[in-house]
């Protein structure tokens, strides 16, 4: 079945699965998991260089920036100003003008501060950024983000790192139905069935990190997620059968023996 290309901010991608680079037990596992996932878009964070070199080097020592499309995030920012500052630093690293915008509003749930998010999105769009905005599954916020000029809107499946799966399929489906820009579910997917169910809602893609990094075998889980995203997408395009409350036999009623 022929699918439409997955296009964000004027760039097209083959894979609808985007993956993060955080929390892996080691860089070799990360690199192999990302390869197995088939992802082309890979997220990274902006942090201070460790001047004492006691910790690991930057992620780019372990990831081919020519092979992957690097999507920097503003993770850890609790104010619009901070997120804008991080986005500017990320762009200066010189890879692209795309930014995964996070403005967090609550430390326990890491749920977004949608007011700060909108302010930061408007600022960054005006500066020429292609903004992919991490948000909750609220339609009105998603519409406002689209109005602000975001290149994509990224509703959560469930809180970051929770692995609780898709808690509000209706909300995510509604956002996808109403928005013109791509809708990429970000955060909360825990296992392959979550990814499949999410893609069956018709969204354009999924971004995940912990589901791979915290799996017992991240490389195998990455393969499972690649298949699940493809399966869910294909099932969505195929169009599922209607649900019925009564059984309908699959075999003919005629031709039964007396």
């Amino acid at each position: 079945m022929l699918d439409i290309p997955f296009t964000i901010g004027g760039r097209s991608f083959h894979s609808r699965l985007m993956v993060g680079t955080g929390k892996y037990r080691d860089n070799d596992t990360m690199a192999r998991a990302i390869e197995a996932s088939g992802a082309e878009i890979v997220t990274v964070a902006v942090r201070r260089v460790d001047l004492d070199r006691t910790k690991e080097e930057g992620v780019l020592y372990h990831l081919d920036a020519k092979r992957y499309f690097l999507l920097a995030n503003t993770a850890g920012c609790y104010a619009a100003d901070d997120a804008v500052r991080y986005a500017r630093l990320a762009r200066e690293a010189g890879f692209n003008e795309f930014i995964k915008l996070e403005v967090i509003g609550d430390q326990e749930t890491l749920l977004p501060d949608v007011q700060g998010l909108l302010v930061a999105a408007q600022t960054l769009v005006a500066e020429g950024f292609k903004v992919l905005a991490y948000t909750n599954e609220d339609l009105v916020t998603a519409l406002r983000l689209e109005d602000a000029g975001c290149a994509a809107v990224m509703p959560l499946a469930s809180p970051i790192g929770s692995g609780l799966g898709l808690l509000n399929p209706f909300g995510v489906r509604t956002i996808k139905r109403r928005l013109k820009v791509p809708v990429v579910v970000d955060a909360g997917v825990g296992t392959a069935s979550d990814a499949c169910l999410t893609m069956e809602q018709g969204v354009d893609g999924i971004l995940m990190n912990t589901a791979l990094a915290a799996a017992r075998d991240p490389v195998a889980m990455a393969r499972a997620m690649r298949l699940a995203v493809e399966a869910g997408r294909t099932a969505y395009l195929a169009g599922r059968m209607p649900k019925r409350e009564v059984a309908v036999p699959s075999s003919p009623l005629e031709g039964m023996l007396d």
Partner: protein, 70 residues
């Protein structure tokens, strides 16, 4: 006159040579200018300008790069 001045680099006070440029600061820290982004008193300094900007006492300098993240 003391030929060293205190500046804050990534939140830590460090003594650097008076009149040093940002590029010289990076070199003194054994950092590749292509691998870091430099913010000087909240203003990003692009690579070609690193040799043109000198540090002054009390300056706040942030040196950042990409790390693993989701």
């Amino acid at each position: 006159m003391n030929d060293m001045v205190d500046v804050t680099v990534n939140g830590e006070v460090r003594a650097v040579a008076r009149g040093a440029t940002l590029l010289e600061l990076l070199e003194s820290l054994a950092l590749d200018p292509r691998a870091v982004v430099v913010e000087h008193n909240r203003t990003i300094v692009r690579r070609p300008r690193l040799a043109a900007v000198t540090v002054a006492p009390g300056d706040a300098i942030e040196l950042v790069h990409f790390v693993g993240g989701g």
